[in-house]
Amino acid sequence: MESSLTSEQKKINAAKISKREKIFEFIFFRTSQASSMFVLVVLLGIFLSLLINAWPSFKEFGFGFFFSPEWNITKNKFGGLIGIYGTVISSFIALLIATPLSFGIALFLTEICPMVLRRPLGIAVELLAAIPSIIYGMFGLFVFSPIFADYVEPFLQATLGHIPGVGILFSGGGNGIGVLCAGLILAMMILPFISAVMRDVFLIVPPVLKESAYGIGCTTWEVSRFVVLPYTKNGLIGGIMLGLGRALGETMAVTFVIGNAQRIQPSLFAPGSSIASTLANQFGEASPGLHFSSLFALGLTLFIITLIVLTLAKLMLIRMQKNEGASS
């Protein structure tokens, strides 16, 4: 067979194949490149479309949109402060509770837990993260908030409610639906998320570092506190901020339990609104005009806040990985 082809023919064949391959190569390279650019285009598209739709509202209310606590559909006056306040406070409560718990869980999974249980418990935590947020919302509304109203609220009122200054945060109360309840449900939601990141970060610590600390007689807690924690500081903060990013943009879990009242009240038991819950409740019924545009303005605000938080989180995590490269 081989000999039947002259060397001239072989050369022509090779040139043909190489030309064809080059064309395919070009097509494949460009399509794959285009699809990777797609995500960039979408990000820009989201930003632009929100900005365009929000523009009438920004033009009408100016910079004051972010500081006005008025959301009045009948008077056509809109300000974003209620939503921003609700979003920030509920996320802050969530972080306050979820951070130490996640740290404990990650520590347990990497240092304390017997080897046999590590994988199943790790998977259990990841499953908790996979449960859709609407389930957390239903759980919060039907199961958690009644218990919260019957037991937790009276307890907090009886204890923290009497401290001057702080007491006002725990005044009033009622059916369990409110900013604090939303914060607690959010905490449950982001808990597995932060724990998983923290665990992965802890696993990066070189065993030699830990072993040498154990070797000079450190206890597990001392190793964690003085070796693991400093080594993974950036990564931990990154993980916490990733969780914050999730909490800020979370819609369904919050909408079910925050109460959806358009006011700012000092008590954490009182119902409020987050940006996402306002959008979920009002967007369907909004008529074109200022109301519609103001909802887009809220959406843009949320988008920018989460982008900033997530970007900082990613930068922290990247910096940690770079440090790891430098020190080893």
């Binding site: 990777s36 989201i46 479309s49 740290f103 404990g104 807690w221 369904m252």
Partner: protein, 288 residues
Amino acid sequence: MSEAMKLKESLIAKRKRTNFVALILSMSAMTIGMVFLLWILSILFIKGFSAIDWSIFANSTPAPDSKGGGLANAIVGSLMMVGSCTFISAPLGVLAGIYLSEYGTRSKVASVTRFVTDIMLSAPSIVIGLFVYSLVVARAQHFSGWSGTIALSLIAIPVVVRTTENMLRLIPGTLREAAYALGASKWRVSLFIILRAAKSGVMTGILLAVARVSGETAPLLFTALNNQFFSTNMNAPLANLPVVIFQFAMSPYDNWVNLAWGGSLLITLTVLGLNIITRILFSDKKEG
């Protein structure tokens, strides 16, 4: 016992005590996490299973306060949207993943893309709903199943991209070099050798993306909306499980709330099932 010895003893006792307290706290954190998981799942199973029978798959969503009815329209709508979302996001995401891992290792644009994809992974899904609303629904002047599909795809694509890239990076460079040495061109190597070697990992990514979008509610509120009736028309508002659950759970009617629990159980079983399947897929690959 000398004074110094005593001091040392008490110091050790103190360190041990601190250690003990810290370990107890860490264990209780783990317990709290597990209690929540079991609590949610048990409530879901108790309330969900009592709501599920064959009629839930046979009938469409009922009128408020009536007897019977099911979730058939919502189940079909969800399957259609998640299915078409998979067909859109899987090829796009895998291609983008190949680019990032095989072509874009050193390019600046690729590292920016990687960063943005990571951020889009956690971007608020409701904002994606707003975007698709203004892009598709506002133009077409009506809600539709397709717009819901687009919104879901935008959420799924970053998941597929990132897992594909990570999985392809796990393939040893020697495999690529061996193929190049035989004269294979880069696209053949990427598509027929590297991708094939990482098949189960890439499948994992796609399944994870499906699991992620099948519970997404917020973006569907403004895109697919809901439909009381059985419909397979992707150009019209389409019923889907998450939005039905949302509307029914917030309603004061007992039969609706009951159906919402049934739907929640279905979604959770799907999502958790997919997650477990991915783990089995991936651990098989590691062993083999």
